[in-house]
Subunit: 327 residues, 2 copies
Amino acid sequence: MPEIRKDPVFGRWVIIASERGLRPNDFLGKPGDHLCPFCPGNEELTPPTIYSLPGADGGWRLRVVRNKYPALVSEGTSDNRRDGIYDRMDGMGIHEVVIETPEHGRLLEELPAEAVTDVIKTYMLRVKEIKKDPRIKYVMIFKNHGRNAGATLLHPHSQIIAMPMAPLRVMQEIDGAAEYHIERGTCVFCDIVTEEIAFKKRVVAENSSFLAVTPYASRFSFETWILPKKHFSHFENIPEAEAGALAEVLRTALGKLIASLPDLSYNLIVHTMPVCEPEAQHYHWHIEIMPKLTHVAGFEWGTGFYINAVSPEAAAEILNSGKQYKV
Amino acid sequence: MPEIRKDPVFGRWVIIASERGLRPNDFLGKPGDHLCPFCPGNEELTPPTIYSLPGADGGWRLRVVRNKYPALVSEGTSDNRRDGIYDRMDGMGIHEVVIETPEHGRLLEELPAEAVTDVIKTYMLRVKEIKKDPRIKYVMIFKNHGRNAGATLLHPHSQIIAMPMAPLRVMQEIDGAAEYHIERGTCVFCDIVTEEIAFKKRVVAENSSFLAVTPYASRFSFETWILPKKHFSHFENIPEAEAGALAEVLRTALGKLIASLPDLSYNLIVHTMPVCEPEAQHYHWHIEIMPKLTHVAGFEWGTGFYINAVSPEAAAEILNSGKQYKV
């Protein structure tokens, strides 16, 4: 069973999951070394279907399964245990995969708008279902696309990890927003939305409900955030009718990123409040897309201090021009 | 001039340094596309020598120069300025490169013990010199080795970045250690040293003054820390006589890592107190070596929550066996 260990200095948690070393990898070995477990006809290669949407041909158009090589598993407890001077707990949690389309070679942003809307509605539905388990404190939705972003399979998919505690960096972000709210009486993300609409030069996509911008303090070149214009602290609490508007801005933003950076690898992360907390005035859910253009990790890993060679204003200009960018 | 921008939510600082996009890169293009600026005979390709040690042949055996494509520059002030709702400041600081050897193809751990000792003594000397500038609050020493670790040049080198504030993650680490010290009255790193010597199974190298271990909550497979047995909060304050003992443990630890993982990319970071602070009981300088075996970054970037497929006990066993590990 995976084990969660706590760093005694930093307080950060690490999942030690040896089974994950066994995952198939599309980026190592030769093409055809293994069957794609996410393609139609290979359903027996994944754990059973948790949720699916029917396709036109009697098959499925979207499928949710448990991750075969989970970082966390449903057995175990969330109790702390001592291990010498250290703390650990069972790797208890839920790890699901959302197979976004039956088509192996299609990118998320190339899917029809309705299919992207399906993906977003599925995220919402799964969070609402998963949070019924009282052991679950946080549900993280994320997508790794491309080798440099840590993906091991090409077939379009995203992941949902539900865990018995809120990750440290999530809490630091919420604390930062809470501090801003105490100081100024407003939500920092609402203020960012207002500022960016007025400033214009970092806007990449916009509709009546959502705004995509290259953030002021972008850690990565071409980093892009999608912010809802209406304040909600929890992603899963937005009206279902908003899913289409989010899909539209997400498709436009990802489409512009891929147009300017054809072989782009990226991580997409839904930032949201812990599911165990009520709706809050000081935090505002949003999506962060982090392109991984180069291995510029450098000393950033150890310091949280990032160096970015493309200013967000230059990045937005390139993305909006439709021109290709040479890394 | 580079600009430092503050994220209004998280409080993290980002350096926007467009000039860095112009750096030569050994990992792109063809070999021989550019001359190595760190090889003897090409000294005119770098800024002038700041410090050097003489070689046997009338040349140099180690050289320190200003980084030609700096993340921070010596002009400018450390004053905050408003930019809409955001904060920024000049990218003021110092960015130096330590060219560890004249030999292009030699790895740090393949150098004679005296040469590694020279590198460590040079780090100490440069920190002591740089911290005379009262604008400087923090001096970060780090080494990126290999493409996956963000290196752009092959020739063995390390970097020193001095900055007008302590990075957020450095402060979080120091705060974590301070909290432990308040709760238990001991230094958490001193306790780790005692625990690891007793537990044995995570020890990779040891001599009378230093201990190398795979830490209990390793974020990365084969992550290795080097801890001084004697408590000092500031790296630059250790007795110069300790440099040789540190070089010995560093060479052994890096040697074992490269033996088991031949094409290893890694980041090495010296964690130390801000130079503007006095020696402290609650913090203990150390070195963290973070191997970059796979692009397992995944959702770790956004969460600070890491997934590691090789337990530190298994990693230490492999490193001590001398066996090669297949990633």
